[in-house]
Symmetry: C2
Subunit: 527 residues, 2 copies
C-alpha cells in the first residue's frame, strides 16, 4: 500500500508544477487542535510552492508569528480564548463528567456551555470586526491578489472575510459553528445519522431515535443562539442587510471534510464535499534515539501509548494516580503524554512526556494499544496505523468518535465517571491487549482506509488548487443554496396540489349535491 | 491536461498489477446503447487481466457470442426485444412528437408506454427465470468462483442473479428500472432536481416545481407497476418471500454513475456512488484515410457531424429531406450517420455513413458542430471535446440531457415538431457556428470535466477492483437501506413526540381546569 502512496505522490510531483505555479492563499485558522491539522495542510501547500498568509490574533496561543513557510498579519485583539481558560474549563468538565449521568452531562454541555459558546463566538466576532476595521490591513489584503481563502468554519470569521474580499472559499472542516458540518450542506435524516454527543451509532432503537431527534432540535437552537445571531450582526454591519450569514456559511466552494467513511457512518453527501479523513497520517519516521531505546526495552510485551489531546494537560490527582497505578501493574512499557504533576503511583515502566511523535509511535510495530481521548486527529491516526484503542473521552465529539471504532470492534470505551473504579482501566487495557479481535478489526479498517485511488492529502491539495485554477467551483454548488426553506421542502407545491385536489373533490361533491337536489325537488313539487 | 491522463494511466499501470492479479467478473448487461458503454468498460477490465464472462440471450442483437476479450453463456430465450421492434417504436415516437405538445408527449410516453414497459420487463424477467432454471448453467457459474457481478440495472435481472449466486454487485448505471438512479439511493428534493422528461433545469419557477412534482408521482407509479411488481414475483419464486426486490436493487456495493457534475446538476449523493461520466472519452485517434481526406477538404469552414444514436436508424422522408437540404446550403462539409434511404435533397458536401468514429471526429480540430439526439454517451463526448451541439432529441432523457448543455450555453435545442419548419434547422446550425459563446462555453465545460485527480475510467476500474479485493464495500452502504419508510422519515418519532407534547399540554389544561373548578366551587357553595 505504501507503494501506492509513493506513486501517488510521484504523480502529483509530475502533474502539479504544470497545473499550478504557486498561488497566494489567505488562511483564517481556528485555534487549538484545529490549528494542528491546518498547519499540516499548510506545510503541504508550502511544499507545492504556494505563498501562505495567515491572519492571527496577537493573543494567539498556538499560531506563531511568521515562520519559514508562512507569513502572518497579526491583529491586535483585546481578548481571545487563551490556553489557561481552556485548561480550567477542561478540568471542570472532567469533574462534572465524573459525577454526572449522560443526560445530565449533555444538558450541562448544551445549556451550561451555551453562555460560554455565545461569549466565545462574540469574541471571534470582535476579532473579525477588528480585521475589517483595519483599513491598512484590508488594503494590503486586497493588494496581495489572493486566489483563495482557506479557513476552518468552526469559527465563523473566515466566510465573512472571504465575502468581504470577494474571494473563493475552501473549508478545512468538521464542525460548522459548531454543528457537524454535513448538517449545514447535505440532507441529514435524523433517523440514522447520530447527532454529536448522542453516543448513538447509525443503527438506533426507537428510543435512541427519539433522543437523537431531541438532541437535534436542541443543537439547532444552540447553533442559532450562540453563533448565527452573533455573526449575522457582523454581516449586517460590513456586508449589508441583505446578506444572510448562514447562506454565506454554506456557500463555500469546496468542503475538505476531516473524516472518511471508514471512520464515519455512510450518509448523504454533496458534490463539493471532499473527504480527506486521515490526511495528516503518513508512514512513521524513525523515533528519536531515547524513545526508540525505551520502546525496544519493552521486549515482546510491547508498548502502550496514552494521550488525552491538546486541551487536557492534566487530570484530577486521584484519577491520575489510579491510571499510573494500573500502568505500573502491566508488563508493557508505557509512554504517557502528561503535563500535570507526576502521579505518586507512577511505575518504572511509565515514561511521562510533554509531547510525543504520535504518528511515528502509532506506526511502530511495538505499539500495542493507544489510550486516547477520541479527538478526530488521534482516532484517524489509530485507524490509519491499525492500532486498537482504549478510549477515555472527555467532551464534545470524543465519545462519538470512539463509538465509531467500538462499533467496528476496534476500541473499548471507558467513561470518566467509572475509569478509576474496580480496576476498570487495567481490565480494559488487558482486554484490548489480549483479545486479538480488537487488533484484527483495526487492521481491517486500516486496509480499507488506505485503499483509495488517491491519498487524502493529495486529494485535498488537488481540490484547493482546482478552486485556485478555476476561481471557485460554482458548478459543484447545488441550486438548493439559493432556495427558501418552503421552496426547498416543496411546502408551497404540496399546499397548492393539496388545495387543487380538495377543490376537485369539493366541486364533484357540490355537483353531486346539486344533481341530487335537482332530481329530488321535482318530486317534492309533484307531491 | 493530456499529460495528467497519461500520468494517471501510468500510476495505475504501476499500482494495479500488484493490487489485483486478474479476477473473474460475471457480466449481466443491458442491450442497445447501454451495451456500447458496458463494452468499453469490459475492454478496459480485460486489459487489466480480468476474465470476463457475459450472460447473453440467444436473441441478443448487440452482444456477439464470445470474443477475443470475453466468453459468453448464451441463454436460449423465447423472445427478447429486438432491433426491428425498437426501430419501429422509434419511428412512431418521432411521428407522435412531431404533432404533439410537450405535455401530451409526456402523457403519451407515461401512459401509452406503460404497457410496452411492463411487457419489456416481463420479457427480461422470463429471461432471468430461464437463467436460474438452467441448473447446468447455475452449477457452472457457481464453479467459476466469480469475484463480482457487473450489471446495468436498467434491466432488473442483474441484482436478482447476484443475490442468487451470493456475489458482490457493481452497477454501471444511469437508470434504475427505469427511474433516474439517484432517486433509488440518495435523498432527492423534487424542488430542485428535475425529473426525467420534465425538461426543467435545477432553477424552477413555482409552476415548473408543480409540474416536476406531478411527474415525480407519475414516474414512481410507472416504476412500481411496470417493473417492481414484475421482478418481485421472480424474487418470491427464487429468493423466498422475505426478499424485497427494491431493497435488493438498491443494495449494490458500488454504483458507477455515467454522469458527472459538469454535465448533471449538483445534487445529494451517497458514499458508494462513483461518478464516471465521460469514462468512454479519450483523446482522438487518427481518422481512416477517406474520412481524414473528406474532413481536410472542408478547408477553413470545417465540418459538421450528425448522429441520432443507436436506436434512430432512419427519419420520416420529409424530415430527412429538409435536413439534407439545410446541410446542402452550408459551406461546411457534413458527415451524417444515417441508415435510411438516401434523401433526394442531399448536397455534394454531405457524406452519409452507416457508422462513424464519433469520439475521434469530435476530437478533430476541424469539427465545428455536433448535431446530436442527446443520448448520454454523445453528450458526454461533446462535453469532453468541447464541441457545441445542435440538439434534436427524440425520446426519454435526451431532451433533458441537451437542456443541461443549453443551460450552460453550449447547445441549441430543436424539437421534432418544429425542426422542418421555417428553416429552423439551418438557422440553428448557423447560430451555433457563428456565435462564439457556444464553443467557448463547451470549451470551459471541457476544461472543468478534464480537471479531475483521476480519470473517470481509472476511477471506475479502481472501484470495481476494490469490491473484488474486499469482497464488497459494505462499509459504504448507508444504514437507511435496512430501514422501513416510517422509521427513515421519523414518522413514528414525530408522532410519539407530538403525542408527548399534546399530553403535556392536555395535562396542564386539565390541571388548570381542576384548579379553577376547585377555586370556584366554594364560592358557589357560599352563595
Amino acid at each position: 500500500m505504501r507503494l501506492m502512496y509513493l506513486c501517488s505522490a510521484l504523480l502529483l510531483l509530475i502533474l502539479l508544477p504544470r497545473t499550478c505555479q504557486g498561488g497566494n492563499i489567505l488562511v483564517f485558522p481556528t485555534e487549538g487542535s484545529h490549528w494542528i491539522n491546518m498547519d499540516i495542510l499548510l506545510q503541504a501547500l508550502h511544499s507545492r510552492g504556494h505563498n501562505l498568509t495567515i491572519i492571527r490574533s496577537s493573543k494567539s496561543w498556538y499560531i506563531k508569528d511568521n515562520s519559514t513557510y508562512y507569513s502572518t498579519y497579526t491583529v491586535p485583539a483585546e481578548r481571545i480564548i487563551d490556553e489557561e481558560i481552556i485548561t480550567r474549563a477542561m478540568l471542570s468538565i472532567i469533574d462534572f463528567e465524573r459525577g454526572g449521568l449522560p443526560l445530565m452531562s449533555f444538558l450541562h454541555f448544551s445549556v451550561g456551555m451555551l453562555g460560554a459558546l455565545t461569549e466565545f463566538h462574540t469574541t471571534v466576532g470582535e476579532y473579525v470586526s477588528a480585521i475589517i476595521d483595519d483599513r491598512e490591513l484590508i488594503r494590503m489584503l486586497n493588494d496581495t491578489k489572493f486566489d483563495v481563502v482557506l479557513t476552518d468554519p468552526c469559527w465563523g470569521g473566515g466566510p465573512i472575510l472571504a465575502k468581504y474580499l470577494n474571494l473563493p472559499l475552501v473549508y478545512n472542516v468538521r464542525w460548522l459553528i459548531p454543528e457537524e458540518a454535513h448538517f449545514g450542506i447535505a440532507p441529514s435524516p435524523i433517523s440514522y445519522i447520530p447527532i454529536a454527543q448522542s453516543r448513538c451509532t447509525d443503527k438506533m432503537s426507537f428510543f435512541q431515535r427519539v433522543k437523537n431527534m431531541i438532541l437535534y432540535v436542541v443543537s439547532q437552537m444552540q447553533v442559532h443562539v450562540a453563533a448565527k445571531e452573533v455573526y449575522q450582526k457582523i454581516c449586517d454591519k460590513y456586508l449589508g442587510p441583505d446578506e444572510d450569514f448562514y447562506q454565506l456559511l454554506i456557500d463555500a466552494d469546496i468542503w475538505l471534510m476531516r473524516v472518511d467513511f471508514v471512520f464515519d457512518y455512510p450518509r448523504p453527501t454533496m458534490p463539493n464535499v471532499v473527504y480527506m479523513g486521515g490526511f495528516q497520517c503518513k508512514p512513521p519516521k524513525p523515533l528519536p534515539q531515547h524513545l526508540e531505546e525505551f520502546v525496544q526495552s519493552s521486549g515482546e510485551h510491547g508498548v502502550i501509548i496514552m494521550s488525552l489531546g491538546t486541551f487536557v494537560n492534566e487530570l484530577p490527582a486521584d484519577m491520575a494516580n489510579e491510571i499510573a497505578a494500573a500502568f505500573a501493574k502491566l508488563p508493557q512499557k508505557v509512554i504517557w503524554r502528561y503535563k500535570g504533576s507526576r502521579p505518586d503511583t507512577l511505575g518504572n515502566n511509565t515514561l511521562l512526556v510533554d509531547w510525543m511523535p504520535q504518528n511515528d509511535l502509532l506506526g511502530h510495530p511495538k505499539v500495542k494499544v493507544f489510550v486516547a481521548h477520541g479527538g478526530t486527529n488521534g482516532v484517524q491516526e489509530a485507524l490509519y496505523h491499525g492500532v486498537p484503542v482504549v478510549g477515555l473521552p472527555v467532551f464534545f465529539d470524543q465519545h462519538d468518535n470512539l463509538i465509531r471504532l467500538e462499533d467496528r470492534g476496534g476500541a473499548k470505551i471507558l467513561t470518566l465517571s467509572t475509569v478509576d473504579k474496580d480496576n476498570n482501566f487495567l481490565k480494559a487495557i488487558q482486554e484490548v491487549l489480549n483479545e486479538p479481535s480488537y487488533r484484527m478489526n483495526m487492521q481491517r479498517l486500516s486496509r480499507l482506509h488506505r485503499d483509495q485511488p488517491i491519498t487524502p492529502m493529495d486529494n485535498a491539495l488537488f481540490w484547493i488548487e482546482f478552486v485556485m485554477r478555476h476561481k471557485g467551483a460554482a458548478h459543484l454548488k447545488p441550486a438548493s443554496l439559493r432556495m427558501s426553506w418552503y421552496s426547498y421542502h416543496s411546502v408551497d407545491v404540496a399546499l397548492f396540489l393539496g388545495g387543487a385536489v380538495l377543490l376537485v373533490f369539493l366541486t364533484i361533491f357540490i355537483l353531486i349535491r346539486c344533481l341530487c337536489n335537482t332530481m329530488c325537488k321535482p318530486k317534492v313539487k309533484r307531491e
